[in-house]
């Protein structure tokens, strides 16, 4: 059972999200409206997953993100999904910097519309997965960059974008209408081109995405 602490300052959305999570078997142990209350609620309930808005009171800037980062610093491995209205690489990069980037998600609020996928994403993060919103990744891949990523072929970029959204090789193969073996080959090429040593750690996939997000032009 994944117990969730939810932080969102919009009352309607907070209640909507809480209802959604309960309905899909993710009990919301606390639903709060600002960053300080989030920190208190996590201390009190020790949840299995934190879902937080990035822009929240008191300053209505990135309070939610900063609270999430301090929570993860205090409790390594605490899964956190940050929701935002904005496609911002800086926020995603900050999240991935915390605790090796495992068990974090950075999602546009648009994702809640596709209810089942959204809940699956939350479960994935709670299980230690890393998920960056496809829009963020797509934006990074759109422009031909001037770093190692430039060596990736168009198909490899597609595969990398899918990897970033947490898809398995099988799922990527289905989405791109290619064989799973082909996807495996692409993944191997991507990791080689980005200079990531092949090993059995599934975290390689995250590292590939990290290479993107940390690129400082």
């Amino acid at each position: 059972m994944t117990r969730v602490v939810l932080a969102e300052d919009g009352v309607l959305l907070r209640e909507g999200l809480a209802g959604l999570l309960e309905r899909f078997g993710l009990p919301v142990v606390a639903a709060v409206g600002d960053a300080a209350a989030l920190v208190d609620a996590v201390a009190e309930h020790a949840p299995d997953l934190v879902v937080t808005d990035i822009r929240m009171p008191p300053t209505l800037t990135d309070d939610g993100l900063r609270a999430a980062l301090s929570l993860r610093a205090a409790r390594p491995g605490l899964p956190v999904v940050a929701l935002s209205q904005y496609v911002e690489r800086s926020y995603a990069a900050a999240l991935l910097d915390s605790d090796g980037g495992r068990g974090v998600g950075y999602l546009l609020k648009d994702r809640v519309a596709d209810v089942e996928e959204f809940v699956e994403t939350l479960r994935g993060v709670a299980a230690g997965g890393t998920i960056i919103d496809p829009t963020v990744v797509r934006q990074l891949l759109q422009r031909p960059p001037e770093d190692p990523v430039a060596r990736l072929s168009a198909r490899e970029r597609e595969v990398l974008a899918s990897m970033a959204t947490g898809l398995s090789n099988a799922a990527i193969a289905r989405a791109l209408f290619v064989s799973e073996a082909a996807v495996g080959k692409h993944v191997g090429n991507i990791l080689a081109k980005l200079g990531l040593p092949p090993d059995d750690d599934s975290n390689r996939r995250v590292l590939a995405v990290l290479t993107y997000l940390h690129r400082r032009p």
Partner: protein
Amino acid sequence: MDDNALTALRRRNYLFTSWPWRSLLYVASTPVIALLVWPLALPVVPLVALLVSLTRESTVDTGTAFVISGVSIACYLVAAPLLALPLAALERHRLRLVRPEPVRAGHRVPPSTGPWSWLVTRYTEAATWRAVGYGTLLAAAAPVFSLFALGWVMFAVALLLAPSIVSGANPIHLVFIEVSTPAEAWPWTPLGLAMVVTTPYVTGLTAWVHGLVAAALLNEPATSARLHTELVEVSRSRARLVDGFEAERRRIERDLHDGAQQRLVGLTLQLGLAKLDVPGDSPAAVTVAKAHEEAKALMAELRDLIAGIHPQVLTDLGLPAALRELADRTALPVTVRSDLGERPATHVESTAYFVVAEALTNTVRHGRATQAWVRAYREKGQLIVEVTDDGQGGARPDLGTGLTGLADRAATAGGRMLLSSPAGGPTVVRIELPWTTA
């Protein structure tokens, strides 16, 4: 009262107005005042000596004369304002005799109290050095004119008195005439009379010319002073407008974000749930699915709209992060280098941001560029932002409103925009904004 001495001079009743007397008072008091400030004429002396030593065989060595001239001019520049400033104040009062309109000093107000601040202000403003110029002119030239005027009056009086005082034993020598008997003297009397009658005109004219020179140097023209005040007010009100505009943008962004956007997310969530609850084969399923798609599209549109009004990352993380996000969104490889240290004031940040955004849009649209570079750094109290591309160049501000708009935007923040875009490229847009902190 007449506008000035010249119009008064043209009038028939000139001699019966106060003008001749005021002119006389002005002209007569000039040598007295010139005497008080005679040291101001000193730099003329070594210069004359220098000229003499250069033009003639002289005992004074030319090199020595140069050194002496240099040293005395340096001393003069340091000390002259101290004498010229009170002189200018006095002369402004005296000037009212022949120029009834108000005289403005045009001195700036020192930024803080204390003698040092006063000295720095005075020594660095044009009004002071115009006063020094006037003082030097007065001290050097006034004696010459005074002697001429004195000579004129004495000559006229001598001609008038000649018939009564001349005798064979007492011949009168007047420069180019010599009379020894009253009979010889009488023919000159009309000239003397004419000279006496014209004296008020001569003094009037002298006073007018002097007043003209004095006003040119000592009077801050009224229009210039007023324009200056108005310009200060205009730039202040422009700054207020920009701040107000900026605040309004952020308010609109906040309202949309906290209101419409949140409710729209809630709505799509509800529609997503409804889609799960409606049986797939019912007629409602299609409608709900359609509404769901519409709401999702609307959400994406609204997000773009809000990001265009004011990017959240600019507020949260500042200009460098916002420029990187901007580079990410641009359909060209953009290299961003920024080195700012602390954050400047909000309006400086957003002006720089929107100018870069517009410049990059231009690059994509018109520049035929394959790459762009953005640099932001701080230099000499300014925020400098440069956008360079490797496009075809030839961008001209007069060919569209885009570049003019950028220049206006920079100007409202008290800065300026520079454009270099030779045919064949590269195009460089440079914005310089005064670095202020919030």
